[in-house]
């Protein structure tokens, strides 16, 4: 997948890049256990990176640290080479495994995000409508977001995250509870955003999904990045023992 030159327009009032998003020596300890153990990872502009790893490996935690939702006990996270700040948060789209829908209509959920990103009032209606249309949700624009189906909610959550034109989109198992059709819809939506120039980080357990989406794969195990490998090599010849076992469906050592 190529990085196309027509990156989405930056919203007003949110200067500065968040890419590369970088974690250096990030450690998180709880109850004497290192949940993340000195993780180094960098998200550079361009590729669609898939993060894989067994349950409890620390994938969600890593994503939350990169988004500054969790403060590491040691190590640092930087956005665009500097300390993260709230003003740049809209440049980093985040989609939770369980979508959080605000108590308002679908389109108002998107308008809310645009307002938070400092998009001028006059542009919000148009951009919200465009974001819904891109997600195939224009029919549901006026529906209360919380009555949408799980798949529709997740598509809305992605549309809301993309509406502000983020540089990077982080998704934490966005299709974990969805049927194949809804999963496909979301993969299509994410791939379209990626083709339009958004850098993507996608957490999944699903090998098939990882094969369909990944430009490169980061394999997380025991709170560390066991390997980071281009997709074409990862699935045939992973370099770590843990990833080899995972791909072969064996118990991971």
């Amino acid at each position: 997948m190529q990085l196309s030159p027509d990156r989405p327009a930056r919203p007003a009032g949110t200067g500065g890049h968040v890419l590369p998003v970088r974690a250096t020596g990030v450690t998180i300890r709880r109850g004497g256990r290192a949940l993340l153990d000195g993780i180094d990872i960098g998200i550079e502009p361009g590729p669609l990176t898939v993060i894989m790893g067994p349950n409890g490996a620390g994938k969600s935690l890593l994503l939350r640290v990169l988004a500054t939702l969790v403060r590491p006990d040691a190590g640092v996270v930087t956005w665009g080479g500097t300390m993260p700040d709230r003003g740049r948060a809209p440049q980093l789209g985040f989609v939770f495994q369980k979508p959080v829908m605000l108590r308002r209509s679908a389109i108002d959920n998107v308008r809310y995000a645009l307002k938070a990103a400092g998009v001028p009032r006059g542009e919000r209606d148009r951009r919200a409508a465009e974001a819904l249309a891109a997600a195939g949700l224009e029919r549901l624009a006026g529906s209360p977001a919380r009555v949408l189906s799980g798949g529709e909610q997740q598509r809305l959550a992605i549309a809301r995250a993309l509406a502000t034109g983020p540089e990077v989109l982080l998704l934490d198992e966005p299709t974990a509870n969805l049927d194949p059709a809804a999963t496909l819809a979301i993969e299509t939506q994410v791939q379209a955003a990626h083709r339009a120039g958004t850098t993507v980080v996608f957490v999944t357990h699903d090998l098939g999904q990882a094969r369909r989406l990944a430009d490169d794969v980061a394999f997380v195990h025991h709170g560390r990045v066991a390997e980071r490998t281009p997709a074409h090599r990862f699935f045939s010849a992973p370099s770590s023992e843990a990833a080899t076992a995972f791909i072969e469906g064996r118990l991971i050592p």
Binding site: R86, G87, V100, A116
Partner: protein
């Protein structure tokens, strides 16, 4: 017993004919309790929101204190407000004792803990759900509080109605600080207490029926709000 039947008849006559004394008493009751609830909301909602959002040492103690204050006995509140407003008290020079303002203050003090405690719980539950999503959207602390207040508005309105229910039905505090002065501080509850003790059951019954009607209306409003909010998936 036949007194009782006659009293009922007379009570209905008072209601239907919109007896001026009765109307005056009802109007003052509504004015005092609505004023008290509005003032209590202006104080209680920010307290509730602050306790829901802020983390500070002593917060646990504050929550316990707030929940205990919900059970404040009205007569004790009346007594304290009386002491504060009486001529020798710290607020004596304001000359508020035995005025509707004094009754409003007393009811407000009774209602603030209800509104603060309920809004704290409501907002905190919603914050649990919203916080990380709002943070990734770049929403700051004040924007977060505004969003929580707005999205919780139906539940918060329910808290205000509950507060109004407590204020309008309360007698112990207003009788102490208002004095039940005819045409000045006589409200429904104090009038009922007085007229019953005088044996004038008609006015007492008429007012009692109105009070009952208000209680039913408030509860119906709460249910309607819940249902509307539920239907719109705003709850």
């Amino acid at each position: 017993m036949q007194d009782f039947g006659a009293a009922f008849g007379e009570a209905f006559r008072l209601l239907v004919s919109l007896d001026p004394d009765l109307v005056e008493i009802v109007a003052l009751s509504l004015r005092v309790s609505l004023g008290a609830v509005l003032a209590a909301a202006a104080i209680g909602l920010p307290i509730g929101a602050a306790l829901a959002v802020a983390r500070f040492p002593g917060r646990g103690v504050a929550l316990v204190a707030l929940n205990s204050l919900m059970g404040l006995p009205p007569v004790v509140v009346g007594l304290l407000v009386y002491l504060a407003l009486s001529r020798a008290g710290p607020l004596g020079p304001l000359g508020l004792l035995y005025t509707p303002a004094a009754m409003m203050i007393a009811q407000m003090i009774l209602v603030v803990p209800i509104i603060a405690a309920v809004s704290r719980q409501t907002i905190e539950d919603m914050k649990e759900e919203y916080e990380e999503q709002l943070r990734v959207l770049g929403v700051g602390p004040s924007g977060m509080v505004a969003t929580l207040l707005w999205d919780a508005r139906f539940s918060l309105l329910t808290a205000l109605l509950a507060g109004f229910g407590r204020a309008i039905a309360e007698v112990g505090a207003v009788i102490i600080v208002g004095g039940n002065i005819n045409h000045v501080t006589r409200v429904m509850t104090t009038a009922i207490a007085l007229e019953t003790s005088k044996g004038d059951l008609a006015l007492a019954l008429g007012l009692g029926l109105i009070l009952l009607g208000l209680a039913i209306t408030v509860n119906a409003a709460v249910m309607l709000l819940r249902r509307t909010a539920g239907h719109a998936a705003f709850a």
